[in-house]
Symmetry: D2
Subunit: 389 residues, 4 copies
């Protein structure tokens, strides 16, 4: 019953490096798993740790790399690799947020493609600068909003772009969990820094959670935000930043909607949802059950569109396993890394048309996210006034 389909991969894997992702990093191995899944990347170098010795041992002992390609820092790596014939072509950055900008900037200047964790930067200016730089160097700049690489999201995008649901009227975005409903940070230092301004920037949960459905809405609809109005609360009163926030959003062109991000929604597990209502149909997507896309044509009931079924568009048929068998977030990340690799190959052969046709979470998404968060903070701090992006 299972028919496994794989989209074409690269003939030769890209030579890949990591900055960060060493011992104790959990996201580091998630990136490695995703990158290696389809053999489009081969990890050949790294600056895995701020502690150079520990990074070296990790690279050699855990990952089997050559010792001379386990570098003490990103600068040394970029400079040294640039001189090799077989030097790295792409780098993934999983360091603390405040260091993204300088590392990414240096990477592009060394002519590397970049894959960076979100949030990309703290200010929109920095992100815009990186975008411009990447453009000048013809480099691919991916940002790891991994949820957006499920086949069901691709199906939603195709349906919207082909006009299946007509002109969009209302968009609801939501990411609400309840893990931080009580003061759990006393035993969770990882949370402690997230709720403080200095480490986290202007927002906690709006950035940490809210930007995910925001990015997904953007990828699916292509709509741009005109202005927003935000109210937020720190329900656990000792927190400097919000643990719950609501935003009204008005898009250019007439559509509007809402975004809710919460860390205090008792009973909610993850609950990242997006609903897009058009004049001819409605789509609903829920990240806890990502193998189904709910669809209602006008005057008809909702029905689930299941991943891998023959009634889906070809653009959404990059499943790794037959219908019924569930895929998970790991598979979505592998899709994301593959798409980025295909775009990089297109860039390298200067095939701009192909490069432009490949969908992956990119720096424009990241820029919108940063600008959105700046506007949210400005609104919330000024009696929830409306702020134009």
């Amino acid at each position: 019953m299972t028919t496994m389909i794989r989209k074409e991969n690269l003939k030769t894997p890209l030579r890949w490096a990591q900055v960060g992702g060493g011992k104790g990093s959990q996201v580091g191995c998630f990136h490695r798993d995703a990158a290696h899944r389809d053999d489009n990347y081969k990890l050949v170098a790294g600056a895995f740790d701020i502690d150079a010795e520990r990074g070296l041992r990790f690279g050699v002992d855990e990952l089997g790399l050559d010792a001379d390609r386990c570098y003490p820092d990103y600068k040394t790596m970029f400079d040294t690799e640039a001189k090799r014939e077989d030097g790295i072509q792409v780098v993934s950055i999983t360091t603390p947020n405040s260091t993204h900008y300088e590392i990414a900037r240096s990477a592009i200047e060394h002519n590397l493609h970049v894959i960076c964790e979100k949030p990309l930067t703290f200010t929109a200016e920095e992100s815009l600068e990186l975008k411009e730089l990447a453009k000048q160097h013809n480099r691919v700049f991916g940002v790891t909003y991994g949820y957006s690489s499920y086949p069901t999201v691709a199906q939603a995008r195709e349906m919207v772009q082909r006009g299946d649901i007509g002109k969009i009227r209302v968009i609801h975005m939501q990411f609400s969990h309840g893990f931080h409903a009580a003061r759990v940070e006393d035993n969770d230092p990882g949370l402690q820094w997230r709720v403080t301004k200095k480490a986290s920037g202007p927002t906690y949960v709006l950035g940490d959670c809210g930007t995910h459905p925001l990015q997904m809405a953007r990828m699916i609809t292509g709509l741009e935000i005109d202005k927003i109005c935000c109210m937020r609360r720190s329900f656990v009163g000792t927190r400097e930043l919000e643990d719950d926030g609501h935003v009204m959003v008005q898009y250019k062109g007439g559509a509007y909607g809402t975004l809710w991000a919460s860390a205090v929604a008792v009973g909610h597990v993850h609950n990242q949802r997006i609903e897009i209502i058009g004049e001819k149909g409605t789509l609903q997507w829920w990240d806890e059950h990502p193998n189904q896309l709910m669809y209602a044509p006008i005057n008809e009931p909702f029905r689930p569109l299941d991943r891998a079924m023959s009634y889906l568009y070809e653009e959404a048929r990059f499943e790794r396993i037959g219908a019924g068998h569930p895929e998970g977030l790991y598979d979505a990340w592998a899709n994301m890394y593959r798409n980025m690799a295909l775009a990089m190959a297109a860039a390298d052969s200067d095939d701009q048309a192909t490069k432009a046709s490949i969908i992956y979470p990119n720096i424009d998404d990241a820029i919108e996210g940063v600008r959105f968060l700046e506007a949210c903070a400005e609104s919330a701090d000024n009696e929830s006034k409306w702020v134009t992006l």
Copy 2:
């Protein structure tokens, strides 16, 4: 497996009349069904129709009333019945909205209990005046927000009032359907007047749909609104009034939330939902499946609390039929009419404590609804500024 429980009824039914509800009225017979269900009311008189002759025939032929108690208009009825020893004690008003105020006022002045359709009046002043008058006359004034009389809603109210979910943080209210996503009013005159200001007042879907979950949130939580911010659209461009509206709500005491009302939500059937998130638990209620109340205690998963199960509070145990067998809106309306009858009996025997303890949708709910809609219109018409109620 079925255990049917009925709460105590009145020993002698109240003598009841209708204004409106004659031939062609559909809500008229819904009121009669609900009122007669438990034999707490006996229909003895009516001014059923603006056409006196047609009203007379309806009362006599369809309802079997005495001809001399089928009146040409409400004034004649109130005056004449007041002189009878066995005159009416309570009247239900189901006439066009613009006439509610004068009929209700006259009814109270004739010392009648009043049950009135929503929206009660177009302005908050009128509603406040009726409230004051009813208080002076020791009359019960019910308003037919019928959804709020399901046992599951009573369970939610009890849980909140007893502190089961702790201090309330976030409230989401929603009533979204898709029946008017296209321009269907060309073939539906009943809709045509609803989307015009003159007949409908300052709002269409916010009033027609949105006030229902608003009333329910109020009944369950008792929270009062501080201020709101509203944006709305007429997506079908020929409509004078909104067919979709979003509201941000801030309550006194720190809770906040949102309300969404829509008539263009393709695929949604009714979708009246309410979610109440507290510091210790969350409740979710959905009117399409009203026999279940979803409940999540902190750090535990959601589970359905089923109507009539032994784990519910006694206050929610007024089921008419055993667990598993579904009840519907008709049963909820019968509950509403019964509770109003019990309150009327308490008022008549001047038992103010009992009267105050009985829960039913009342004139305070109606007043909040009117003030809410006034504020929504003011906000939406002024670039979605915040408006204090």
Copy 3:
């Protein structure tokens, strides 16, 4: 948004009596509510109680009947009423199961239409005899399998009969609750007799629960059972009769399926479900959410068909209230009583075509139920051998 539709009712209500249903009976008032809902019946007489005096007081005090029409027993009632010009036309029987046969027989012989609680009789012979007698007297004989009168069931029947799902292949029937998973009968005498052979007949849960989906499958598909194989258990070991039973069913014509009835299914509330799989489509119905019928055409996903929506067949459009608003079991019972009244009127005017076209749970359903239970007991008591009906 609400459009209430009512199918035509009788111009003159049928003169109706009850045998049983007096003080302490809970099903008695359920019958009265359902019968009176649409004014097709008027209760004019009764033999409400085995205690004649108590029955009299109940009829006079609680129901407002004339004292001389509150009879000490059914025989007196049938004889006396037969002599009146305005005598009763129809009787509902809600007495202990063992008395159904003789009361129903006498009623038909007095030329009355009969509505009887299930199970109709303990043996198939008795039921067949009543059927023959009713036919001779041109009387309607209804049996109160009330679940089958939801509009969604009518929709399912229409879809099957019109060939929408093609030739039927598999039928799954289920009614599983968990209320008797432990030995609760010690505090529940009503359950005590149900699990003993003498009072209950050859089965407990197969009859009490299992015959409901059996009847529904029969009404929807019209298929006849060829043979069955049954295994059952008394998991609470002190019970004489089964509290859980599984049946394999083979229908004439090639379809087959299963039936599961349980009183020990922990966590299940009611869980009466039926699934009908045809070569071109599948239907699923669940009594806890009876306003939706799930439907999957071949190669397409399941979608809910909601009661009262315009895409349903006309035959399923007897809703009492608009879409979205839920109906409950009480509404289904009212539908059942109405359909029986329409059939009775057709019989009285000798309009056999109309009489035959009206769908309601009837004596053929009851006969199949009795024969099914006889076969189940025979199979289960003989090492689950196959038994032909």
Copy 4:
């Protein structure tokens, strides 16, 4: 919000080979992905193809193996590798079913651990023989029933084994899809051989689908089947083997239940479900949403137990990614391969206690599956008589 936890892996990967799984094989790469996920296996050799040249090129070009370890057939591989100091330690067999026996036998005789696709063999004798042989050689023998390695299944097993749901009463097993409801084999040669006896053995859908939930029930409950009764149909009449089958199952010790396998269940996507009802609780698992385990304690409602939540047992806490983020079948397969590796390491160090404590789908499961299918065919071919296993 994400906490990724990984159970301990082997310090040195096992040297691993494949028989089958070459060009065009889809399951081959699924095994490689799963085996490589946690670095517990390193692919060093293979006999990938019946066409030796094609197998060689696949191993060298696609997998980067040394040419001299890409063998023309399994015999050569086993003999040659046995002589190397760094020879293979474990082999995965993904060849046609009819060849499993001889390859597996040879592998054990060469002292290799074995991982084999299901169904293991066509007869129970052969499977029993392999079991005995593996025991003599102290070899691990895994069979790839991959669904059973979800953390939620481990949670179910723990709950049953600790007595959380009490003594088991009823087990329902189901795997029903609708992909073959019509005669699709004309365009699908892969299906054509599955519905013929010669290639497939005595069953089609009972074996292809039904043995999965059968294995899962066995892993969770440890119950052994006493006897079964089976009925089956080829609804698409041109098929030699059944495309739908129902089985009644009686377990040793008093529990009983049903199994349904179908390829003609229109609208069902995969629908592998298992329900286990005990005297104190009920568990439900559904493979399309494998991150949730439904659980109802007696007298309480069902609630989802979500993967990775802190309320789960430690034995079920081998998640690869935090709660809310979904895992898929690929992750379950990786778990399966890891557990098998841990068992192999324990066997190699003769740590029998550890070896016995590790849960993975094993040869006993496979033996029960073969015996079950033999009994089903015997029953179905003899008027659905009861057959003792």
